[in-house]
Amino acid sequence: MTELIRVSGLQVHFPIRSGLIDALARRPRGVIRAVDGVDLAIDEGQVLGLVGESGSGKTTIGRVIVKLTKQTAGRITFAGEDVSALWGPKQLRDYRRRVQLIFQDPYETLNPRQTIHDFVAEPLEVNGLAPRLADREAQVISALESAGLPADFAFRYPHELSGGQRQRVVIAGALVMGPQLVVADEPVSMLDVSIRTELLRLMLDLREERGLTYLFITHDLALAWVIADRIAVMYLGKIMEIGPAQTVISSPRNPYTQALVSVSPSPDPPDAGMRAKRTILKGETPDAAHIPTGCRFHPRCPVAFDRCQVEEPPLFDLGGGQSAACWLVEKDQLPVLDPAILPGLPAPSPGVTPEAAT
């Protein structure tokens, strides 16, 4: 299993400025720490489910990886190369062919004035990949067919298509350049439940056929469980827990993950007795400009104690590919691995354990 992409120490901070005076004085009124120190790695052919509620930073990570948003700090390594500093259409030409994004809203991703053909062909045009019209057409049709749409859809306009069909077009548009890594940001959340399964199946089939790797971003833990090999749970810009999907769901070790799993809705009849006790947290996620000190979850954590208010826990390796950031699991952690064995990682600062690669 070779590693395809790794981010280390990723930070994305947005300054809050207001008004001309502040802008002139370059005086930020605060900082939104959307992503606040994240380490992630995805192996080739894997599906990593990135789960979190709104404000967790999961979408921002997706945007940083596809280079729509610039990171404030941290490193991104893709297929062995350091791509952190690349920016702008020229430098990113090659990167963009290999890393693509499936957007969330099929009604908004398609320009209402563009035909389907133009939408799917645009990546080829913009990157000069198929200069002859006939070539482009052929590739468009091939992409549409891979996404399960007949060729004659090419000449329709978006408003003639249903939500599920539009999302297939979006997928075709993401595939046409033959990427290796596809970031999918809530790809099915705006679709009817019965349509979702088809699209998910399509995405998994494409993984088989083309050896794709997915970063699957979603707020729906159960959905991540169904589709992902590994799940990472985020809260307020940091990873709280990461591990194999089944393990994270059946034996979560971080209290936030535990609460999330316990309230994840399931279509069980009330008297079936299968429903575990629910941990409904109080309050809502604080905003990313006012992140609590110490462990950022401590104000809402049902089992927080004094150390949690003061020190932020690192991700502790618990074996079997699972890591959780919580002082309560510190005693269960495996010994720290020698960073010299893991190439490409920065030397750990004290107290930070690099996440063990699977």
């Binding site: 963009r96 908004e108 645009e122 057409e137």
Partner: protein, 319 residues
Amino acid sequence: MTGSADFVPTGRSLRAERWRLRVRGAREFAGQFASRRDGLIGLAILSAFTLMALSPDLFVGAKETVVSATGTRLEPPSAAHILGADELGRDILNLTVHGARISMSIGLMATAITIVVGTSIGVAAGFLGSWTDSGLMRVTDFFLVLPTFVLAIVLAPVILDIIGPEAEFLGLRATLLVIVVVIGITSWATTARIIRSQTLSIRERMFVDRARVIGSGSGHIMRRHIFPNVVNLIVAQAVITFAAAVFIETSLAFIGLGDPFAPSWGQLLESAQSAGAPGLGAWWYIAPPATCVVLVVLSFTLVGNALDDILNPKAQVRR
């Protein structure tokens, strides 16, 4: 629609399909427009005036001059002269119809300048943001507050100097070209503001993000994604600007900045005033050109309303 089985990709078939799509789109549009009574009335009036502007001779013969005038001074309407005559005996109907060409040409050219300049600046400022936006917007603000008439009076000799008194373009002589330039200079700022505003909201939409993700540069995005989605607004603006331009030209000519040898409607009104027509009760001198201005502005408003509703993307059905 062709089935996928018999679809063979060649460049030619794509062009054919595109053409078919365009024709279908045009037919749909025509159908929608035909159902709008206000649009149709506006279009009818506009067509009439356009015809008059394009070939005035067909309607009333050659433009009358002092030499060919047959009426008596300020003759009231009669069988020979349906709308009476001016102070030089020229037939008012003749002059009015010929005036259409001048007024509307001025309107058209001024609108062209306004739209081209306004849209370019609006889209650039809205899309590129930060310093470009601030800089362009300060310039725009400056032009926004300039008073039209004062500017016209100040600029007229300056521009005349620049282009030379003998300049001629599309049948308009120097003085009228000045008016075109002045209207353009004072109108583009409003358009720029409006287009910039729309651009700001389009810029945040997901399909622009998608264009970025696949590697599009700013130019490509502005051309292929921003511009087609502001076309509605541009059309609406063009219609408003045209109407305003005709009206401004009329006013400028009325205060004496027009070309006495090119009787636009405004010029006719100016002549009427100098000849003392209001005091003498010669309504036939004033009413025709004034009515034409009103009708043209009205027709544009009606057409503009209809177009606005049809082209409004919110009217599209979302499943």
